[in-house]
Amino acid sequence: MNPLPLYVAIPLGAAFLIPLLGLWWKKSGETLAPLFTLILGIMAVLQVGRPAAVYHMGGWPPPWGIALVSDGLSTLLLIAINLVGFLCVLFSIKYMQRYTGLTKYYSLFMLMVAGMNGVVVSGDLFNLYVFLEVASIASYALVAFGVGAEELEAGFKYLILGSVASVMLLFGIGTVYAVTGSLNMADVAREIATQFGGQMNPGLLLAGAFFLMGFGLKAALVPFHAWLPDAHPSAPAPISAMLSGVVIKSLGIYAICRVFFNVYGIAAGGAGSVIFANAMIAFALLSIVIGGILAIGQWDYKRLLAYSSIGQIGYVMLGIGVGARVLATGGQISIAGLAILGGLFHMFNHVAFKSLLFLSSGAIQHATGTRDMKQLGGLREKMPITAFTTNMAALSIAGVPPFSGFWSKLVILVATVKAGYTAIAIVAIVFAFVTLAYYIKVQREILYGTVSKLVEKAREVPALMYVPLILLAIACVGFGLLYPVIGVHILEPARDALMNGAEYIQLVLG
């Protein structure tokens, strides 16, 4: 049987089962949430190498019914969401003990996972919007879970900005429906390809602008990034790891890729495609520059990580934007493929090292009670495992050679230069060194240096908290060294799914 509906049904069922059982069984969340996310993670990993599949909800064929689609890109995101979800739940068991209302926490967590899985497997624009709202609303509540003044403010800000993005997306979807008369992504893509011959009429351009803004806000690209530096530090650490590790990617980057490559057929060329590709590159550059500059000055560890997320998402978007522009202007397919591959690879790596960094910030806060970098120092002596794994992630994200982050940034930069955008590549290289600079600051202020007063009393966190850190640290090294395995089986199918828009139409509509 095709397991696609299970990716939504299992976490959704768990989200309602946990509070129901929680009325009598206080540990329902701690027990069931890791179990269900582990099952989902194993399912996602087993999906690797299988051919792309379509599931017809309720037995209705695509242009009328809702289709669930799993191709290479969906599989990539499913693996990231469910495995990181499992590790974050595992980390939550000890970390969340000082909070109350834990069944609600795990319930919201599973709802968020359900929403993200739904976004990733959905083959229907409106269905994608509904799941995006499920995931977003769960994350608004989770950001404010601490119910302190700061958390509530951050949650409220995120809620308002997220709602603006949702309204934009709804407008965009409405416009697409008005122009093409369909909501099924493959059907819309076919309409655009045949009815308009790949060209975009003003309605589609407007809708595209709405999509770029709405999904761009979810992805925290720079003009729309204002919610992120508040939301990520205020949330409990496992939620920060989820938000930065997978939410901004599945709701933002994935949706942008899917809509512009598979639905709008950016590869087919035309004036509209070039405009969107230019916008992607512009947002990417702004994110790299502004995220990098703002990160240097931060002394709040989690806030620094949040700004760093903006910068790294910029690199992901740069790879994808350059790929889109090369395709739209009719350049060499191989260069476009390289750029997109680099973007996806960096996204996959960022899932590992940024979730690790946010989880480690949680471990540090758990042990010392602060995340102010001025009060930390010498953690290497008191919390060796946390310090070692944090170090691996910092080296990886900063792009130090044997680690994964180096290879993905290298691929993006090589593709950018090969495509002829040398100036853009130079800016990206300069800000790669800025990234290195602020992670050296992290090392210097937190991991090395003299042991500060607060760190003096700190002890290593319990095993349930450091095991996820170790697993993610292995991933940080492994993704770089095991590229021949991961690249061929996970990343290249994802790239092919983006490059061949026509195949997607063929797959869904048959």
């Binding site: 049904a9 069922g13 309602f16 017809h56 909800m57 309720g58 037995g59």
Partner: protein, 151 residues
């Protein structure tokens, strides 16, 4: 005196039953006439909310205890999912597994009626819970709740 005046209480007692019956009608005929599980569920919740406004939260909670509301809330959602899953037995998730019946009769259109009922349970109890949460927050200051939590 807890709640509103005698006039309001008497009228409330008089209309609450009718509101619930109307809500149930909207739910059960959702597949035939305008309405459905969500709309009917909201109307049913309104009956309980009216009772809470007129008589205070103790009377409302004696009719629908908080724990029962939580059980119905999660149970309704799970029932919806299970009915959808039942469709797998005949081919696909959410496929109509029950007979379609005769058009315009109450027992027709297969799964839509049970799905409407599940949604009605979910919506009515969760709206009631949302309202009661807001009502409780209004009575007690935030600081008092935190202090209770710490104590």
């Amino acid at each position: 005196m807890i709640g509103m005046t005698l006039i309001v209480k008497t009228i409330t007692d008089f209309v609450v039953g009718f509101i619930i019956v109307f809500g149930v009608y909207i739910v059960l005929y959702g597949h035939l006439t305008p309405g459905g599980g969500f709309a009917g569920g909201v109307i049913i919740a309104c009956a309980f909310i009216l009772a809470m406004l007129a008589h205070g939260k103790d009377v409302a909670f004696s009719k629908l205890p908080e724990k029962a509301a939580h059980i119905i809330d999660s149970g309704g959602a799970l029932a919806f999912l299970l009915i959808g899953w039942f469709g797998v037995t005949v081919g696909a998730f959410f496929m109509n597994a029950f007979g379609r019946g005769e058009v315009f009769r109450l027992l027709s259109s297969g799964m839509i009626l049970p799905l409407n009922i599940a949604i009605a349970f979910k919506v009515s109890s969760s709206l009631f819970l949302v309202f009661s949460a807001l009502a409780i927050f209004r009575r007690r200051s935030f600081r008092a709740m935190i202090e209770d939590e710490l104590a």
